[in-house]
């Protein structure tokens, strides 16, 4: 079943075409990688899917429903969660509260509930604290639960972001360079974690520069260059694709 379909999306900033007529599909239960040189428009695609930008043209279909015009917070509720390339944690909140915040869209307690603390509100809160601890355990950082999020190491901050995204109970998890800034051991653990996430029935779409990670776990890879899709296929196919090789080697020598 196709979970997410990106259909011919285009986005320009001023005169610059950041994403040009890109389409691809994500199968339910798969791990898909989005790669490409710097500035290829990968993050822009993510921002369009998650409703931070609105595409000039094209459509995003999730679970058979168009979400193109939906707002960010509504899309989360539909079941798409994400992490950010530049880590975006709630720096003044504790690790545990960061995850609790992720439950926001799945809980209901409101102002009056907060003030009067009805029994059902307390129950909800208690249950979520418990679930949050489980998620922290799942990504392996539960012992830091009461530290400020900003005090974690870089790698652990990325893990916390994943835990927070998982707290929204997504069907699709979008990871923007999850291995960025991680050492080899940490990346290996990350690969293992992503597999475990998929095993929970969550589809994963990721941007990654670390080719080992991409080739290791992705079932499908989409390649962007200058905002356009230049290739799509299994990791094996991509490795052999001459355009991809050119894009990666060529630009390395000339511009970047």
């Amino acid at each position: 079943m196709i979970l997410l379909a990106v259909q011919r999306i285009t986005k320009t900033f001023g005169g610059l075409v950041a994403v040009n007529n890109v389409s691809f599909e994500v199968e339910s239960g798969s791990i898909v990688g989005l790669i490409g040189p710097n500035g290829a428009g990968k993050t822009t695609v993510f921002n369009i899917i998650t409703g931070i930008y609105r595409p000039d043209k094209g459509e995003i279909v999730f679970n058979g429903q168009s979400i193109t015009l939906k707002k960010s917070h509504e899309i989360v509720k539909q079941g798409i969660a994400r992490t950010f390339q530049t880590i975006r944690l709630f720096s003044q909140l504790s690790v545990l509260e960061n995850v609790l915040s992720g439950f926001h869209c799945r809980t209901k307690s409101w102002v009056f509930g907060a003030i009067f603390r009805f029994p059902w509100e307390r129950r909800e809160e208690r249950q979520k604290v418990e679930e949050a601890m489980k998620l922290l355990h799942f990504v392996g950082i539960e012992r830091y639960y009461n530290l400020p999020a900003s005090s974690l190491s870089y790698g652990n901050q990325r893990l916390l972001e994943i835990a927070r995204a998982l707290a929204t109970s997504p069907q699709l998890l979008i990871l923007d360079e999850p291995a960025g800034g991680m050492n080899e051991k940490e990346s290996a653990e990350l690969i293992e974690l992503i597999r475990r996430i998929r095993d929970r029935g969550i589809t994963v779409l990721l941007i990654e520069h670390d080719m080992n990670v991409v080739m290791d776990i992705c079932e499908k890879v989409v390649v962007l260059e200058y905002g356009s899709k230049i290739a799509e296929g299994t990791p094996e196919e991509i490795k052999r694709n001459p355009r991809v090789i050119e894009a990666y080697l060529g630009t390395d020598g000339e511009e970047r």
């Binding site: 409703g51 917070h73 975006r88 504790s94 926001h104 907060a114 003030i115 489980k134 639960y145 009461n146």
Partner: protein, 320 residues
């Protein structure tokens, strides 16, 4: 799992304060009354500025709306002043909702000037006797004293208990609000709007909620102010008042209720202590503001991380 039972020095502080008035003369009790009022205003503004990170320099507008609602209903329709308390809050909240809704998306300093603008518009409207009910620059006089169980509250000592009990209620309400899903959502917006959206938080709606709650509370405080003064005029709701409330929050520690109370003590109390300096008192006060800020850049009592009792969970086995 029980709520964490931690000893909060705040309650000791309240006990001490409540024991004070019999020892003090009416003047110092009245100073404490002012401190109490501004602490309540500060806590209500703290939700907007400290928790949600919205730059609001027009809080006096909501305070004014509450005060004027009470004054008008009391002097024109002779409703008992304390019975108007919820209504004053409601009017102020409704006003906040209506004016902030179209402009809630403005960022940082742009929101700041707009709140200043709202404050000024309200003040000018009051001065110009809008709808012929605000009494212009004369204001409204002859507001009744509050009556509780047939007992009229009149002297500073009596007002002390009214104001400080209201302050305690305020502290409890806002502490609970902080320590909840809603409070976390406010903090998320303050720390990172984009990530907050990524958690499914409707940023605009929660910002508006923060404004409405803060305004409602300021409106209720306005009711108490009106009955304490028995006369209100636009001068009491100038831009300067908003600045004072804002300073209380930041100086005390944005996001911290304990800090806000201390901030109110300093900002309202210090000029009174400096009274003997006569016309130099505000000079010293300004200097004190700068020095305190430099010594404690995050405020006198910065907020602490909220604690959750999870020991029982930690001990459990997670093997799935």
């Amino acid at each position: 799992m029980k709520r964490p039972v931690s000893f909060n020095p705040l309650w000791v502080f309240f006990i001490v304060i409540f024991a004070l008035p019999p020892l003090l003369d009416p003047y110092w009790v009245d100073v404490l009354n002012n401190v109490g009022l501004y602490a309540i205003l500060g806590i209500s503004l703290n939700l907007i500025v400290g928790h949600t990170g919205l730059f609001n320099l027009g809080h006096a507008a909501f305070y004014a709306i509450g005060a004027y609602t009470s004054a008008i209903l009391n002097t024109k329709y002779h409703m008992p002043i304390l019975s108007i308390l919820p209504l004053s809050g409601f009017t102020a909240g409704l006003f906040a909702f209506m004016v902030m809704r179209p402009i809630i998306h403005l960022r940082g300093d742009y929101l700041c000037i707009v709140t200043i603008g709202v404050g000024e518009i309200v003040r000018i409207a009051l001065v110009n006797n809008i709808f012929g009910i605000t009494g212009g620059s004369n204001g409204i006089f002859g507001i009744a004293r509050p009556e509780l169980f047939g007992y009229v509250i009149r002297s500073p000592h009596q007002f002390f208990y009214l104001i400080w009990i209201f302050l305690i209620i305020t502290v409890v309400v806002f502490k609970r609000l902080e320590h909840s899903r809603v409070g976390r959502a406010f903090n998320c917006i303050r720390d990172d709007e984009i990530a907050a959206q990524g958690c499914g938080i409707n940023v605009a709606s929660y910002k508006l909620t923060a404004f409405v709650i803060g305004a409602t509370w300021a409106g209720m405080t306005g009711n108490i102010f009106a009955t304490k003064m028995t006369i209100i005029s636009p001068e009491s709701f100038s831009f300067w008042e908003s600045v004072i409330m804002f300073t209380i929050v930041i100086l005390g520690g944005a996001g911290s209720i304990e800090g806000t109370i201390i901030g109110a003590f300093l900002i309202i109390g210090l000029p009174e202590i400096f009274r003997d300096l006569s016309s130099a008192r505000m000079l010293v006060f300004g200097l004190a503001m700068v020095i305190m800020m430099i010594l404690r850049p995050r405020g006198l009592i910065p907020p602490k991380l909220r604690s959750y009792n999870v020991r029982s969970i930690l001990e459990r086995d997670y093997s799935v």
